[in-house]
């Protein structure tokens, strides 16, 4: 059975790192070019870290692994991360 949740389930963990709401950010998949909100990516939470996969082609887009005082963010699977950010 597919055990995927979605990017919303991962948003709390990403929220510890980013000042913006990661569920609203749009990624462009490096593998297939699909553009979608992080909230709609497939989230696999039961790996040693969090893995977010492309909803369209299932390729890994983002991975987040953390220890007590450090986080590793692997973004190789995305071409771009687009964040709504009005100029202050």
């Amino acid at each position: 059975m597919d055990t995927a949740l979605d990017g919303n389930a991962a948003a709390g963990a990403f929220g510890d790192l980013f000042a913006f709401d990661v569920t609203m950010a749009m990624t462009t998949c490096a593998t297939c070019g699909d553009r979608r909100a992080v909230g709609e990516l497939l989230a696999y939470m039961d790996a040693p870290g969090i893995v977010l996969r492309c909803t369209s082609c299932r390729a890994t887009q983002l991975r987040l692994v953390r220890s007590a005082d450090r986080a590793w963010l692997d973004l190789r699977g995305i071409q771009a991360l687009e964040v709504h950010s009005p100029t202050p």
């Binding site: 597919d2 510890d16 709401d21």
Partner: protein, 239 residues
């Protein structure tokens, strides 16, 4: 984001497997319908388990509500559904997520499609629709296996009005005198109960992965723009 202490003020059984916890959360900053919280349980030996839950209550509710369905081999839901009692405390943080959120100031028609406990964030939207006096028309299509599995049935029926409709379909078994729909949510039911694509409705779909993909595909097939369809999925590891 800071962890807050939630105290169980009331537990409301919804179905044989689902319970609504009404919580007192001092310093709760408020939320929008559709948002989440992370819940964290800590065992005596320090072991922690964390899960994400949709908020069941609308912003205007006096208490934060979570409706949790028991996953038998889960780590968090068995505690929340069968052990947690009035006065018990656990940690949560939120609100989280601005994507799967409905804005009451938006007058576009809204189609909500929920499978099983996927109705939880949609309940917050429907109640907020009623509480805010929104001018939008909102229609909920809710799918459950049996009549006994329909979460919030009477409560949502009571919300039906000039701009709010609720359709329930039962997928596994239904009473002989059942006047509602039978079978899974498909393009036929969505065409009949939803809005025409020309009305440019917002569509919110929430449920297990298979349900979400089937419904989202059917909506696209009917001609709805993918950009108007927002989805939220939860899986068996949600426990």
């Amino acid at each position: 984001m800071r962890w807050l202490v939630a105290t169980v003020a009331e537990t409301v059984p919804e179905t044989a497997r689902a319970v609504t916890l009404r919580l007192d959360v001092p310093d709760w900053p408020g939320h929008r319908p559709g948002q989440h919280v992370d819940v964290r349980l800590t065992a005596d030996d320090g072991y922690q388990a964390q899960r994400s839950y949709s908020i069941a209550s609308p912003p205007e509710s006096d208490r934060l509500e979570l409706t949790v369905e028991r996953i038998d081999d889960g780590e968090v839901s068995p505690y929340l559904t069968t052990v947690a009692d009035v006065g018990d405390q656990f940690e949560l943080r939120g609100p989280i997520g601005g994507w799967f959120v409905w804005d009451a100031g938006d007058d576009a028609p809204v189609l909500l499609v929920g499978g099983g406990s996927g109705v939880v964030p949609l309940r917050a939207m429907l109640q907020h629709h009623a509480g805010s006096g929104s001018a939008a028309a909102m229609h909920l299509v809710q799918s459950a296996r049996t009549l006994g599995d329909v979460i919030y049935r009477r409560e949502l029926e009571a919300l039906v009005g000039p701009r709010r409709a609720v359709t329930v379909t039962l997928t596994r078994e239904s009473p002989p005198d059942w006047g509602g729909h039978r079978g899974r949510v498909d393009a036929g039911l969505l065409a009949e109960q939803g809005w025409p694509p020309a009305a440019q409705p917002h569509c919110y779909v929430c449920g297990p992965t298979g349900f979400v993909e089937t419904v989202a595909d059917a909506l696209v097939e009917l001609g709805h723009a993918p950009g108007r369809i927002r989805t939220e999925r939860f899986g068996p590891t949600g426990g």
